[in-house]
């Protein structure tokens, strides 16, 4: 459903500190699969993730998405071509696609301090302008499924590592995205929580979603439900096993 064609991404081009994070990646990812990008830090897998997740524009190359796989509503949902090229979409369109299609879980979790768990989970829904009551109910239901139903008004600073992880997952699922993207999700978790995390991923796969995870943790890329492991090094694909 997501195709990358000879994609390159560079930073600080034209300056002495220039470097290419991703240099010439061609990739096709299928729907309803769990794909892991494996590689050491600095290999460019985070940049690759952000390119796949429509968070960044490639310096060169093309990225296309299958129109039928896009999240509900939003711009560009209706149209003739089966594939949409997102390479040169203006930011508002890209963001529109991204917020409905992709749910992100960051390595640092990146929850906003000073506001409650519920408010954190609600945030991705605000730009979409749905009725507040509807959105709130959905958020509370999500937190319930993650066992955090009684912690909705707790400050995020008071949560344990595992709880915070689950809040981040709930937030990622807020807009019901078909694709989950996770960057080093188990970096701050112990083994038990890591296994729990992969169980959740399995559950999501059963629901029909796609998962793309970047990790160098064997617990992740060696897990049973993983369909495909792509090895990344120095911004290029080294290996591709199914």
């Amino acid at each position: 459903m997501i195709k990358l064609l000879n994609v390159r991404k560079g930073f600080n081009l034209g300056r002495p500190s220039e470097f290419m994070a991703v240099s010439g990646v061609t990739l096709a990812l299928e729907a309803n699969r769990v794909t892991v990008l494996k590689g050491p830090s600095g290999s460019g897998k985070t940049t690759l993730l952000s390119l796949i997740g429509c968070m960044a524009r490639p310096t060169a190359g093309r990225i296309t998405l299958l129109r039928s796989q896009l999240g509900g509503g939003g711009p560009l949902k209706s149209g003739e071509a089966a594939e949409i090229e997102v390479t040169s979409l203006p930011e508002r369109f890209l963001t529109g696609i991204r917020s409905r299609t992709f749910g992100f879980i960051f390595q640092q979790l990146n929850l906003i301090k000073g506001i409650s768990v519920l408010e954190n989970v609600l945030l991705p829904a605000y730009p979409l302008g749905e009725k507040h009551g509807v959105v709130r109910a959905r958020a509370e239901a999500l937190l319930d499924t993650f066992g955090l139903g009684d912690r909705t008004s707790a400050r995020v600073e008071w949560l344990s590592g595992g709880e915070a992880q689950r809040v981040a997952m709930a937030r990622a699922l807020m807009n019901d995205p078909p694709v989950i993207i996770a960057d080093e999700p188990t970096a701050h978790l112990d083994s038990k929580l890591s296994v729990e995390f992969m169980d959740i991923i399995s559950r999501l796969k059963d629901e029909g979603r796609t998962a793309i995870i970047a990790s160098h943790d064997p617990l992740v890329y060696g897990a049973g439900m993983v369909d495909r492991v792509i090895a990344v090094r120095d911004g290029m694909i080294e290996g591709d096993e199914t």
């Binding site: 985070t46 940049t47 993730l49 952000s50 968070m55 960044a56 930011e91 508002r92 963001t95 991204r98 917020s99 992100f104 960051f106 390595q107 640092q108 990146n110 929850l111 906003i112 301090k113 000073g114 506001i115 408010e119 945030l123 991705p124 605000y126 730009p127 979409l128 302008g129 749905e130 009725k131 507040h132 937030r171 807009n175 960057d183």
Partner: protein, 378 residues
Amino acid sequence: MASWIEKQRSIMDFTVSSLLRRKGKNIALLLVYALVVFLLGSALFFTQAMKREAALILQDAPEMVVQRLQGGRYDPIPVAYAEKISNIRGVISAGPRLWGYYFDSHVGANYTIMVPPANPPSRGRIIIGNGIARSRSVARRHIMSLRGYDGLIRNYTVAGTIPSASELVSADLVLIAEADYRELFQFPAALATDIAVAVRNQRELPTIAHKVVAMLPDTRPIIREEMVRTYNAVFDWRGGMVMVLLIAALAAFVIFAWDKASGLSAEEKREIGILKAIGWETSDIITIKTYEGLFVSFFSFSGGLLAAYLHVFFGSAFLFAPALKGWSTLYPDFRITPFVDPYQVAILFCLTVVPYTVATIVPSWRAAIVDPDAVMRS
């Protein structure tokens, strides 16, 4: 449309909560902002109210006053001229006026001594303004002495004080009988200070003024409207001067606002990065910043406006009065009639909220254009 409203509501909610989370930083800005509004507002309200006050007072002034000039200098006018002027067609009445300045060495102040056109006090008695009553510590039935131009000291009984309805003019006023006046100042019987003229038709004033000059070439007529205009211009000018001086304060505030808007804390930068990463667009972040500016401006503007109102109309503008009123050593303690209209509020708004908003546009934008993937890369 409904979804746009819902979206704005949510963003506004978030903005309020984020403002409240950073109270410390925003309170400083609020106070400085309100102070600037207060300073400019005080200057504005004061001068506008004074203009109105002067206009109200001048309403009672004679429509035209004829003065005599001697070698370009102001000289007493022969009483006989009044008869000649009253014969001009269109003039209802032309009466001589007697008034002058008296320098009181005791307090170092100038009094205006005047023979009122109606109900003058009887001989030996005077009516004084509140300012004089205060500075010389005299009240009804006391004796006040004045030194005449012949060197003799004369005693007058204070018959009463002038009610303080418009202290602007009456604070240093002394009302006296005609004979006493002529005696005090050794003023010849055939002369008067000037001649007050009343006319039938306002529109004919310029024509009549021309006729006066033609008939009596050593005089100059002054029309009330001219005086009103001149006072207006003077107050406007004074107010404008103060404002221009306050431009320096305004500029400093604008730079401060720019700095505050640009200097996002690491925490704020992180928050914006997270918002962009989870699906907020640049324009949404700019919306947050716009609402922030709106709330800050609203509270600061209202607060400063209220403070300026209280300062000018209840505190008699104690901070500014010397610079803006100053012509007499006696400062009348009077209440300025509250007078604020939407036009003044609009001017104040343009001078404060608009520069503040413009100063924050570019910093807000800079904060909003953070790349969504920046938070992943860090």
